[in-house]
Protein backbone atom coordinates (compact mmCIF):
# COMPACT_ATOMS: atom_id res chain seq x y z
CA UNK A 1 0.00 0.00 0.00
CA UNK A 2 1.32 3.40 -0.91
CA UNK A 3 0.68 6.20 1.51
CA UNK A 4 0.32 9.80 0.39
CA UNK A 5 3.76 11.45 0.73
CA UNK A 6 2.93 13.62 3.72
CA UNK A 7 1.55 10.71 5.75
CA UNK A 8 4.51 8.53 4.82
CA UNK A 9 6.89 11.20 6.02
CA UNK A 10 5.04 11.60 9.31
CA UNK A 11 5.18 7.86 9.84
CA UNK A 12 8.89 7.75 9.08
CA UNK A 13 9.59 10.64 11.53
CA UNK A 14 7.64 8.81 14.21
CA UNK A 15 9.67 5.67 13.55
CA UNK A 16 12.94 7.62 13.74
CA UNK A 17 11.72 9.20 16.96
CA UNK A 18 10.99 5.80 18.46
CA UNK A 19 14.43 4.50 17.44
CA UNK A 20 16.06 7.52 19.01
CA UNK A 21 14.20 7.00 22.24
CA UNK A 22 15.15 3.31 22.19
CA UNK A 23 18.79 4.34 21.79
CA UNK A 24 18.57 6.16 25.11
CA UNK A 25 16.97 3.21 26.90
CA UNK A 26 20.05 1.16 27.94
CA UNK A 27 21.88 4.17 29.36
CA UNK A 28 18.82 5.42 31.23
CA UNK A 29 18.04 1.96 32.62
CA UNK A 30 21.62 1.70 33.88
CA UNK A 31 21.64 5.20 35.38
CA UNK A 32 18.29 4.83 37.11
CA UNK A 33 18.78 1.22 38.10
CA UNK A 34 22.34 1.37 39.40
CA UNK A 35 22.85 5.04 40.28
CA UNK A 36 19.64 6.94 41.02
CA UNK A 37 18.00 4.05 42.87
CA UNK A 38 20.97 3.63 45.27
CA UNK A 39 20.92 7.38 46.00
CA UNK A 40 17.18 7.23 46.69
CA UNK A 41 17.70 4.33 49.10
CA UNK A 42 20.40 6.35 50.88
CA UNK A 43 18.02 9.30 51.16
CA UNK A 44 15.34 6.96 52.55
CA UNK A 45 17.73 5.34 55.06
CA UNK A 46 18.76 8.78 56.31
CA UNK A 47 15.25 9.26 57.70
CA UNK A 48 15.21 5.95 59.53
CA UNK A 49 15.94 5.32 63.19
CA UNK A 50 19.08 3.41 64.19
CA UNK A 51 18.69 0.45 66.50
CA UNK A 52 21.77 -0.31 68.60
CA UNK A 53 23.46 -3.42 67.25
CA UNK A 54 23.37 -2.49 63.60
CA UNK A 55 19.82 -2.54 62.30
CA UNK A 56 17.33 0.20 61.56
CA UNK A 57 13.68 0.92 62.11
CA UNK A 58 11.59 2.42 59.32
CA UNK A 59 10.63 5.95 60.26
CA UNK A 60 10.37 9.50 58.96
CA UNK A 61 12.54 11.47 61.36
CA UNK A 62 15.25 14.09 60.97
CA UNK A 63 17.16 12.88 64.06
CA UNK A 64 20.23 11.83 62.07
CA UNK A 65 20.57 15.23 60.42
CA UNK A 66 20.00 17.03 63.71
CA UNK A 67 22.63 14.87 65.40
CA UNK A 68 25.26 15.63 62.76
CA UNK A 69 24.72 19.38 62.92
CA UNK A 70 24.04 19.82 66.64
CA UNK A 71 26.47 17.38 68.27
CA UNK A 72 29.70 19.42 68.77
CA UNK A 73 31.84 16.38 67.89
CA UNK A 74 30.26 16.04 64.44
CA UNK A 75 29.96 19.78 63.91
CA UNK A 76 33.73 19.92 64.44
CA UNK A 77 34.16 17.26 61.73
CA UNK A 78 32.04 19.33 59.34
CA UNK A 79 34.11 22.45 60.06
CA UNK A 80 37.38 20.52 59.76
CA UNK A 81 36.29 19.12 56.39
CA UNK A 82 35.39 22.57 55.07
CA UNK A 83 38.63 24.06 56.44
CA UNK A 84 40.61 21.28 54.75
CA UNK A 85 38.83 21.97 51.46
CA UNK A 86 39.56 25.72 51.65
CA UNK A 87 43.18 25.21 52.72
CA UNK A 88 43.93 22.72 49.95
CA UNK A 89 42.16 24.87 47.34
CA UNK A 90 44.23 27.90 48.39
CA UNK A 91 47.60 26.11 48.42
CA UNK A 92 46.95 24.31 45.10
CA UNK A 93 46.09 27.71 43.62
CA UNK A 94 49.28 29.36 44.94
CA UNK A 95 51.51 26.51 43.73
CA UNK A 96 49.49 25.61 40.64
CA UNK A 97 49.30 29.09 39.12
CA UNK A 98 53.03 29.52 38.42
CA UNK A 99 53.24 25.97 37.02
CA UNK A 100 50.18 26.52 34.82
CA UNK A 101 51.67 29.80 33.59
CA UNK A 102 54.97 28.08 32.79
CA UNK A 103 53.07 25.41 30.82
CA UNK A 104 50.85 27.91 28.98
CA UNK A 105 53.78 30.14 27.95
CA UNK A 106 56.51 27.50 27.72
CA UNK A 107 58.43 26.49 24.61
CA UNK A 108 57.54 23.09 23.24
CA UNK A 109 60.10 20.85 24.99
CA UNK A 110 59.75 22.40 28.45
CA UNK A 111 56.03 22.48 27.99
CA UNK A 112 55.87 18.74 27.25
CA UNK A 113 58.06 17.95 30.27
CA UNK A 114 55.95 20.07 32.61
CA UNK A 115 52.72 18.56 31.27
CA UNK A 116 54.15 15.09 31.86
CA UNK A 117 55.11 16.13 35.42
CA UNK A 118 51.46 17.10 35.94
CA UNK A 119 49.87 14.08 34.27
CA UNK A 120 52.02 11.33 35.78
CA UNK A 121 50.90 12.10 39.37
CA UNK A 122 47.31 12.44 38.15
CA UNK A 123 47.40 8.99 36.62
CA UNK A 124 49.26 7.36 39.50
CA UNK A 125 46.80 5.64 41.80
CA UNK A 126 45.84 7.74 44.81
CA UNK A 127 46.71 4.85 47.15
CA UNK A 128 50.27 4.82 45.78
CA UNK A 129 50.60 8.58 46.20
CA UNK A 130 49.25 8.49 49.74
CA UNK A 131 51.70 5.70 50.52
CA UNK A 132 54.54 7.88 49.22
CA UNK A 133 53.40 10.68 51.51
CA UNK A 134 53.23 8.30 54.48
CA UNK A 135 56.90 7.48 53.90
CA UNK A 136 57.89 11.12 53.38
CA UNK A 137 56.04 12.40 56.43
CA UNK A 138 56.81 9.55 58.83
CA UNK A 139 58.76 9.94 62.08
CA UNK A 140 62.39 10.51 61.15
CA UNK A 141 61.34 10.62 57.50
CA UNK A 142 63.18 12.82 54.98
CA UNK A 143 61.13 15.94 55.67
CA UNK A 144 61.58 15.80 59.45
CA UNK A 145 65.31 15.11 59.02
CA UNK A 146 65.65 17.99 56.57
CA UNK A 147 63.94 20.34 59.04
CA UNK A 148 66.30 19.16 61.77
CA UNK A 149 69.33 19.74 59.50
CA UNK A 150 68.18 23.31 59.01
CA UNK A 151 68.06 23.70 62.77
CA UNK A 152 64.29 23.89 62.84
CA UNK A 153 62.28 22.06 65.47
CA UNK A 154 61.05 18.59 64.58
CA UNK A 155 57.36 18.76 63.85
CA UNK A 156 55.12 15.76 63.73
CA UNK A 157 53.62 15.54 60.24
CA UNK A 158 52.18 12.06 59.77
CA UNK A 159 48.69 11.76 61.30
CA UNK A 160 48.34 15.56 61.54
CA UNK A 161 46.22 18.09 59.69
CA UNK A 162 49.38 19.70 58.21
CA UNK A 163 50.40 16.37 56.72
CA UNK A 164 46.94 15.81 55.25
CA UNK A 165 46.90 19.32 53.70
CA UNK A 166 50.37 18.76 52.24
CA UNK A 167 49.55 15.40 50.68
CA UNK A 168 46.07 16.40 49.45
CA UNK A 169 47.63 19.47 47.85
CA UNK A 170 49.85 17.20 45.78
CA UNK A 171 46.94 14.88 45.00
CA UNK A 172 44.66 17.72 43.83
CA UNK A 173 47.19 20.01 42.14
CA UNK A 174 46.93 18.42 38.66
CA UNK A 175 43.22 19.36 38.54
CA UNK A 176 44.04 22.98 39.38
CA UNK A 177 46.94 23.15 36.92
CA UNK A 178 44.99 21.65 34.01
CA UNK A 179 42.04 23.99 34.64
CA UNK A 180 44.31 27.05 34.79
CA UNK A 181 46.30 26.02 31.70
CA UNK A 182 43.05 25.90 29.76
CA UNK A 183 42.30 29.53 30.66
CA UNK A 184 45.83 30.95 30.53
CA UNK A 185 46.41 29.51 27.06
CA UNK A 186 43.53 31.58 25.74
CA UNK A 187 44.98 34.83 27.08
CA UNK A 188 47.18 36.25 24.36
CA UNK A 189 50.79 36.86 25.37
CA UNK A 190 50.58 40.04 23.31
CA UNK A 191 48.45 41.59 26.05
CA UNK A 192 51.24 41.11 28.57
CA UNK A 193 53.82 42.43 26.10
CA UNK A 194 51.63 45.45 25.44
CA UNK A 195 51.26 46.19 29.15
CA UNK A 196 55.02 45.77 29.57
CA UNK A 197 55.67 48.06 26.62
CA UNK A 198 53.46 50.69 28.24
CA UNK A 199 55.73 50.62 31.26
CA UNK A 200 53.99 48.21 33.62
CA UNK A 201 56.26 46.14 35.85
CA UNK A 202 55.92 42.37 36.20
CA UNK A 203 53.77 42.70 39.28
CA UNK A 204 51.40 45.20 37.64
CA UNK A 205 51.08 43.04 34.52
CA UNK A 206 50.12 40.15 36.76
CA UNK A 207 47.73 42.15 38.92
CA UNK A 208 46.01 44.23 36.25
CA UNK A 209 46.10 41.98 33.19
CA UNK A 210 46.70 38.31 33.94
CA UNK A 211 44.79 37.99 37.21
CA UNK A 212 41.47 39.53 36.07
CA UNK A 213 41.53 37.66 32.77
CA UNK A 214 42.28 34.31 34.41
CA UNK A 215 39.69 34.76 37.17
CA UNK A 216 37.21 32.28 35.61
CA UNK A 217 39.94 29.61 35.70
CA UNK A 218 40.82 30.47 39.29
CA UNK A 219 37.16 30.18 40.32
CA UNK A 220 36.60 26.93 38.41
CA UNK A 221 39.84 25.34 39.66
CA UNK A 222 39.26 26.34 43.28
CA UNK A 223 35.68 25.05 43.35
CA UNK A 224 36.73 21.79 41.69
CA UNK A 225 39.59 21.22 44.14
CA UNK A 226 37.41 22.17 47.11
CA UNK A 227 34.68 19.71 46.05
CA UNK A 228 37.17 16.91 45.40
CA UNK A 229 38.99 17.55 48.69
CA UNK A 230 35.94 17.44 50.93
CA UNK A 231 34.96 14.16 49.22
CA UNK A 232 38.44 12.59 49.48
CA UNK A 233 38.75 9.42 51.51
CA UNK A 234 41.94 7.43 50.87
CA UNK A 235 44.46 10.23 51.54
CA UNK A 236 42.87 11.57 54.77
CA UNK A 237 42.50 8.02 56.06
CA UNK A 238 46.03 6.84 55.23
CA UNK A 239 47.96 10.06 55.96
CA UNK A 240 45.65 11.43 58.67
CA UNK A 241 44.92 8.14 60.42
CA UNK A 242 42.36 8.23 63.20
CA UNK A 243 43.44 11.69 64.38
CA UNK A 244 42.25 13.67 61.34
CA UNK A 245 38.62 12.62 61.05
CA UNK A 246 36.79 14.22 58.10
CA UNK A 247 33.29 13.61 56.73
CA UNK A 248 34.36 10.89 54.29
CA UNK A 249 36.33 8.86 56.85
CA UNK A 250 33.51 9.33 59.37
CA UNK A 251 30.94 8.00 56.88
CA UNK A 252 33.17 4.98 56.28
CA UNK A 253 33.48 4.25 60.00
CA UNK A 254 29.75 4.66 60.56
CA UNK A 255 28.95 2.20 57.76
CA UNK A 256 31.54 -0.48 58.41
CA UNK A 257 32.36 -0.18 62.13
CA UNK A 258 29.43 1.42 63.95
CA UNK A 259 27.00 -0.16 61.44
CA UNK A 260 24.86 2.95 61.83
CA UNK A 261 23.55 3.12 58.29
CA UNK A 262 20.90 5.83 58.89
CA UNK A 263 23.49 8.22 60.36
CA UNK A 264 26.01 7.43 57.58
CA UNK A 265 23.24 8.07 55.04
CA UNK A 266 22.33 11.45 56.57
CA UNK A 267 26.00 12.51 56.59
CA UNK A 268 26.36 11.41 52.96
CA UNK A 269 23.32 13.39 51.91
CA UNK A 270 24.73 16.48 53.66
CA UNK A 271 28.06 16.01 51.84
CA UNK A 272 26.23 15.54 48.55
CA UNK A 273 24.13 18.68 49.10
CA UNK A 274 27.27 20.73 49.89
CA UNK A 275 28.97 19.52 46.69
CA UNK A 276 25.91 20.17 44.53
CA UNK A 277 25.43 23.62 46.08
CA UNK A 278 29.06 24.42 45.26
CA UNK A 279 28.52 23.39 41.64
CA UNK A 280 25.43 25.61 41.37
CA UNK A 281 27.19 28.61 42.94
CA UNK A 282 30.16 28.10 40.63
CA UNK A 283 27.89 27.91 37.60
CA UNK A 284 26.20 31.18 38.66
CA UNK A 285 29.51 32.95 39.31
CA UNK A 286 30.98 32.00 35.96
CA UNK A 287 27.78 32.81 34.07
CA UNK A 288 27.42 36.28 35.65
CA UNK A 289 31.01 37.04 34.70
CA UNK A 290 30.43 35.92 31.14
CA UNK A 291 27.31 38.08 30.92
CA UNK A 292 28.92 41.27 32.23
CA UNK A 293 29.73 43.45 29.24
CA UNK A 294 33.44 44.12 28.92
CA UNK A 295 34.30 47.76 29.69
CA UNK A 296 35.24 49.71 26.60
CA UNK A 297 38.97 50.37 26.32
Amino acid sequence: MRLPPRQAKARRTAAVDRTQTLLLAPGLVLLFGVFMAPLCITLRYSLNRFIAGGSQETAFVLDNYARFILDPYYAAILLRTLALGSGVALVTLLLGYPLAYAIARGRSRWRALLIAATLIPLMTNVVVRSYGWMILLSNSGVIEDALAELGLPRVKLLYTMTGVVLSLTQVMMPFMVLTLVGVLQNISGDLEDAACGLGAGRWRVFRDVLLPLSLPGIVAGSFLVFALTISAFATPRLVGGASVEVMATMIYDQVLNALNWPFASATSIILLVIVLALMIVQGRLLRTRADTPKPAA
Binding site: T19, Q20, T21, L23, L24, P26, G27, L30, L31, V34, F35, P38, L39, I41, T42, L95, P98, L99, L114, A117, T118, L119, I120, P121, M123, T124, N125, V126, V127, V128, S130, Y131, G132, I135, L136, S140, G141, V142, Q170, P174, L178, R202, I230, S231, F233, A234, R237, L238, A248, I251, V255, W261, S265, S268, I269, L271, L272, V275, L276, M279
Partner: protein, 272 residues
Protein backbone atom coordinates in the same frame (compact mmCIF):
# COMPACT_ATOMS: atom_id res chain seq x y z
CA UNK B 1 92.29 43.75 34.79
CA UNK B 2 91.40 40.17 34.08
CA UNK B 3 89.74 39.29 30.86
CA UNK B 4 86.16 38.24 31.61
CA UNK B 5 85.92 34.47 31.99
CA UNK B 6 83.91 32.59 29.47
CA UNK B 7 80.29 32.98 30.56
CA UNK B 8 77.97 30.01 30.60
CA UNK B 9 74.41 30.48 29.41
CA UNK B 10 72.98 30.37 32.90
CA UNK B 11 75.22 33.23 33.96
CA UNK B 12 73.33 35.40 31.56
CA UNK B 13 69.97 34.75 33.19
CA UNK B 14 68.64 37.57 35.29
CA UNK B 15 68.17 36.78 38.99
CA UNK B 16 64.41 37.03 38.66
CA UNK B 17 64.40 34.43 35.88
CA UNK B 18 66.59 32.20 38.04
CA UNK B 19 64.16 32.61 40.91
CA UNK B 20 61.21 31.84 38.65
CA UNK B 21 62.63 28.59 37.27
CA UNK B 22 63.85 27.44 40.70
CA UNK B 23 60.32 27.94 41.96
CA UNK B 24 58.90 25.89 39.07
CA UNK B 25 61.53 23.24 39.82
CA UNK B 26 60.50 23.06 43.48
CA UNK B 27 56.81 22.77 42.53
CA UNK B 28 57.56 19.94 40.08
CA UNK B 29 59.67 18.21 42.73
CA UNK B 30 56.75 18.51 45.15
CA UNK B 31 54.41 16.94 42.56
CA UNK B 32 56.76 14.04 41.90
CA UNK B 33 58.13 13.57 45.45
CA UNK B 34 55.81 10.79 46.68
CA UNK B 35 56.30 8.87 43.43
CA UNK B 36 60.10 9.19 43.55
CA UNK B 37 60.15 8.04 47.17
CA UNK B 38 58.07 4.94 46.41
CA UNK B 39 60.18 3.98 43.39
CA UNK B 40 63.52 4.36 45.18
CA UNK B 41 62.18 2.79 48.38
CA UNK B 42 61.06 -0.31 46.51
CA UNK B 43 64.71 -1.32 46.01
CA UNK B 44 65.36 -1.28 49.76
CA UNK B 45 66.78 -4.35 51.52
CA UNK B 46 65.18 -3.45 54.87
CA UNK B 47 62.15 -5.16 56.33
CA UNK B 48 60.32 -1.84 56.69
CA UNK B 49 60.39 1.14 54.40
CA UNK B 50 62.77 3.97 55.21
CA UNK B 51 63.83 6.66 52.81
CA UNK B 52 66.53 6.84 51.60
CA UNK B 53 67.15 3.05 51.77
CA UNK B 54 70.37 1.83 53.37
CA UNK B 55 71.04 -1.10 51.04
CA UNK B 56 69.63 -2.14 47.72
CA UNK B 57 67.95 -5.38 46.73
CA UNK B 58 65.20 -6.79 44.57
CA UNK B 59 63.79 -9.02 47.32
CA UNK B 60 60.52 -7.05 47.58
CA UNK B 61 59.91 -7.45 43.86
CA UNK B 62 60.37 -11.20 44.23
CA UNK B 63 57.98 -11.24 47.18
CA UNK B 64 55.41 -9.00 45.43
CA UNK B 65 55.39 -10.98 42.19
CA UNK B 66 55.16 -14.32 44.01
CA UNK B 67 52.33 -13.14 46.28
CA UNK B 68 49.19 -15.00 45.39
CA UNK B 69 46.89 -12.34 46.84
CA UNK B 70 48.34 -9.62 44.67
CA UNK B 71 48.32 -11.80 41.56
CA UNK B 72 44.65 -12.66 42.08
CA UNK B 73 43.72 -9.02 42.68
CA UNK B 74 45.58 -7.92 39.57
CA UNK B 75 43.63 -10.46 37.52
CA UNK B 76 40.35 -9.29 39.05
CA UNK B 77 41.24 -5.65 38.33
CA UNK B 78 42.03 -6.52 34.71
CA UNK B 79 38.86 -8.60 34.21
CA UNK B 80 36.74 -5.92 35.87
CA UNK B 81 38.35 -3.14 33.84
CA UNK B 82 37.86 -4.97 30.54
CA UNK B 83 34.26 -5.98 31.27
CA UNK B 84 33.25 -2.54 32.57
CA UNK B 85 34.98 -0.78 29.66
CA UNK B 86 33.28 -3.12 27.17
CA UNK B 87 29.82 -2.62 28.68
CA UNK B 88 30.15 1.13 29.08
CA UNK B 89 31.52 1.45 25.54
CA UNK B 90 28.55 -0.39 24.05
CA UNK B 91 26.01 1.47 26.17
CA UNK B 92 27.96 4.71 25.76
CA UNK B 93 27.94 4.59 21.95
CA UNK B 94 24.20 3.97 21.87
CA UNK B 95 23.53 6.69 24.46
CA UNK B 96 25.73 9.19 22.62
CA UNK B 97 23.87 8.48 19.36
CA UNK B 98 20.59 9.03 21.20
CA UNK B 99 21.81 12.30 22.72
CA UNK B 100 23.28 13.56 19.42
CA UNK B 101 19.87 13.07 17.77
CA UNK B 102 18.22 15.42 20.29
CA UNK B 103 17.90 19.18 20.22
CA UNK B 104 19.58 21.57 22.64
CA UNK B 105 17.71 21.63 25.97
CA UNK B 106 16.89 17.91 25.99
CA UNK B 107 20.41 16.97 24.94
CA UNK B 108 21.94 19.12 27.69
CA UNK B 109 19.65 17.59 30.28
CA UNK B 110 20.52 14.06 29.18
CA UNK B 111 24.22 14.91 29.25
CA UNK B 112 23.82 16.27 32.78
CA UNK B 113 22.14 13.04 33.82
CA UNK B 114 24.89 10.90 32.28
CA UNK B 115 27.58 13.03 33.99
CA UNK B 116 25.89 12.85 37.40
CA UNK B 117 28.08 9.96 38.66
CA UNK B 118 31.09 12.29 38.31
CA UNK B 119 29.52 15.01 40.46
CA UNK B 120 28.47 12.83 43.38
CA UNK B 121 31.34 12.19 45.84
CA UNK B 122 32.79 8.67 45.52
CA UNK B 123 32.18 7.88 49.18
CA UNK B 124 28.48 8.65 48.73
CA UNK B 125 28.23 6.51 45.59
CA UNK B 126 30.09 3.78 47.48
CA UNK B 127 27.75 3.53 50.45
CA UNK B 128 24.69 4.06 48.25
CA UNK B 129 25.67 1.09 46.09
CA UNK B 130 26.50 -1.03 49.13
CA UNK B 131 23.04 -0.32 50.59
CA UNK B 132 21.36 -0.93 47.24
CA UNK B 133 23.05 -4.19 46.33
CA UNK B 134 22.53 -5.48 49.88
CA UNK B 135 18.90 -4.39 49.76
CA UNK B 136 18.07 -6.12 46.47
CA UNK B 137 19.88 -9.26 47.58
CA UNK B 138 22.78 -9.19 45.12
CA UNK B 139 25.30 -8.26 47.81
CA UNK B 140 28.98 -7.58 47.21
CA UNK B 141 29.74 -9.70 44.19
CA UNK B 142 31.80 -9.39 41.04
CA UNK B 143 28.58 -8.61 39.15
CA UNK B 144 27.82 -5.62 41.38
CA UNK B 145 31.37 -4.35 40.85
CA UNK B 146 30.96 -4.61 37.06
CA UNK B 147 27.66 -2.70 37.18
CA UNK B 148 29.10 -0.02 39.48
CA UNK B 149 32.18 0.47 37.32
CA UNK B 150 30.04 0.62 34.18
CA UNK B 151 28.04 3.52 35.64
CA UNK B 152 31.22 5.29 36.77
CA UNK B 153 32.95 4.99 33.39
CA UNK B 154 29.91 5.71 31.20
CA UNK B 155 30.29 9.54 31.29
CA UNK B 156 33.82 9.35 29.84
CA UNK B 157 32.73 7.14 26.94
CA UNK B 158 29.64 9.25 26.15
CA UNK B 159 31.70 12.46 26.18
CA UNK B 160 34.39 11.01 23.95
CA UNK B 161 31.89 9.54 21.45
CA UNK B 162 29.84 12.76 21.38
CA UNK B 163 33.02 14.75 20.67
CA UNK B 164 33.70 12.35 17.81
CA UNK B 165 30.14 12.64 16.45
CA UNK B 166 30.51 16.43 16.32
CA UNK B 167 33.32 16.06 13.78
CA UNK B 168 31.32 13.71 11.58
CA UNK B 169 29.94 15.10 8.35
CA UNK B 170 26.24 14.37 8.66
CA UNK B 171 25.67 14.55 4.88
CA UNK B 172 27.63 11.30 4.46
CA UNK B 173 25.10 9.52 6.67
CA UNK B 174 22.22 11.12 4.79
CA UNK B 175 23.77 10.03 1.49
CA UNK B 176 24.08 6.42 2.66
CA UNK B 177 20.51 6.55 3.90
CA UNK B 178 19.11 7.95 0.66
CA UNK B 179 20.98 5.22 -1.25
CA UNK B 180 18.83 2.71 0.61
CA UNK B 181 20.86 1.78 3.68
CA UNK B 182 18.76 1.23 6.81
CA UNK B 183 19.32 3.44 9.87
CA UNK B 184 21.05 0.53 11.58
CA UNK B 185 23.45 -0.22 8.75
CA UNK B 186 24.23 3.49 8.38
CA UNK B 187 25.36 3.49 12.00
CA UNK B 188 27.41 0.31 11.78
CA UNK B 189 28.96 0.82 8.34
CA UNK B 190 29.22 4.61 8.07
CA UNK B 191 29.04 6.40 11.43
CA UNK B 192 31.01 4.03 13.68
CA UNK B 193 33.99 3.64 11.34
CA UNK B 194 34.23 7.43 11.14
CA UNK B 195 34.38 7.84 14.94
CA UNK B 196 36.42 4.75 15.81
CA UNK B 197 39.24 6.89 17.24
CA UNK B 198 36.90 8.54 19.75
CA UNK B 199 35.32 5.19 20.62
CA UNK B 200 38.74 3.68 21.26
CA UNK B 201 39.83 6.68 23.35
CA UNK B 202 36.63 6.40 25.40
CA UNK B 203 37.13 2.66 25.93
CA UNK B 204 40.77 3.07 27.00
CA UNK B 205 39.82 5.86 29.37
CA UNK B 206 37.00 3.75 30.82
CA UNK B 207 39.47 0.94 31.48
CA UNK B 208 41.92 3.33 33.19
CA UNK B 209 39.18 4.84 35.38
CA UNK B 210 37.97 1.38 36.37
CA UNK B 211 41.48 0.09 37.11
CA UNK B 212 42.21 3.20 39.19
CA UNK B 213 38.95 3.23 41.17
CA UNK B 214 39.33 2.82 44.95
CA UNK B 215 36.52 4.22 47.01
CA UNK B 216 33.36 2.69 45.50
CA UNK B 217 35.20 -0.61 45.09
CA UNK B 218 36.25 -0.50 48.75
CA UNK B 219 32.58 -0.81 49.74
CA UNK B 220 31.67 -3.49 47.20
CA UNK B 221 34.80 -5.65 47.45
CA UNK B 222 34.75 -8.85 49.48
CA UNK B 223 37.84 -10.67 50.78
CA UNK B 224 37.65 -13.04 47.81
CA UNK B 225 36.85 -10.44 45.16
CA UNK B 226 39.23 -7.52 45.70
CA UNK B 227 40.84 -5.27 43.10
CA UNK B 228 44.53 -4.38 43.16
CA UNK B 229 44.19 -0.79 44.48
CA UNK B 230 41.84 -1.93 47.26
CA UNK B 231 44.17 -4.81 48.17
CA UNK B 232 47.01 -2.27 48.34
CA UNK B 233 44.92 0.11 50.43
CA UNK B 234 44.12 -2.62 52.96
CA UNK B 235 47.73 -3.79 53.00
CA UNK B 236 49.10 -0.28 53.66
CA UNK B 237 46.57 0.34 56.42
CA UNK B 238 47.95 -2.60 58.41
CA UNK B 239 51.53 -3.38 57.34
CA UNK B 240 54.55 -1.44 56.19
CA UNK B 241 56.95 -3.75 54.36
CA UNK B 242 58.28 -2.48 51.03
CA UNK B 243 56.59 -5.15 48.88
CA UNK B 244 53.78 -2.62 48.42
CA UNK B 245 56.38 -0.15 47.11
CA UNK B 246 57.49 -2.77 44.57
CA UNK B 247 53.91 -3.26 43.36
CA UNK B 248 53.40 0.51 43.32
CA UNK B 249 56.52 0.90 41.19
CA UNK B 250 55.26 -1.69 38.73
CA UNK B 251 51.97 0.25 38.56
CA UNK B 252 53.82 3.54 38.08
CA UNK B 253 55.87 2.03 35.24
CA UNK B 254 52.64 0.79 33.65
CA UNK B 255 51.08 4.26 34.12
CA UNK B 256 54.00 6.12 32.57
CA UNK B 257 54.09 3.68 29.65
CA UNK B 258 50.37 4.16 29.14
CA UNK B 259 50.74 7.97 29.29
CA UNK B 260 53.39 7.79 26.57
CA UNK B 261 51.46 5.30 24.41
CA UNK B 262 48.20 7.27 24.63
CA UNK B 263 50.00 10.50 23.83
CA UNK B 264 51.69 8.82 20.84
CA UNK B 265 48.60 7.19 19.34
CA UNK B 266 45.56 9.04 20.63
CA UNK B 267 46.81 12.41 21.85
CA UNK B 268 45.86 13.93 25.18
CA UNK B 269 43.78 16.66 23.59
CA UNK B 270 41.05 14.05 23.12
CA UNK B 271 40.88 13.09 26.76
CA UNK B 272 40.78 16.46 28.50
Amino acid sequence: MHAPRQRRWWHQLKPIVWLWWSMIGVIVLFLLAPIIVVVIGSFSDQAYLVFPPQGLSLRWYVQAVSSRDFRDSTLISLELGVLAALLSTIIGIVTALGIAARQRPAADMLMGLVSAPLLVPGIVVGIAMLFYFTDIGVGSTFASLVLAHTVLTLPYVVRSVLAGLETVDRTVEEAAHSLGASRFSVITTVTLPMIRGSVLAGAVFAFIISFDEVIVTLFLASPRVTTLPVRMYNYIAYTSDPSIAAISTLMIVATVTLVLVIDRYVGFARLF
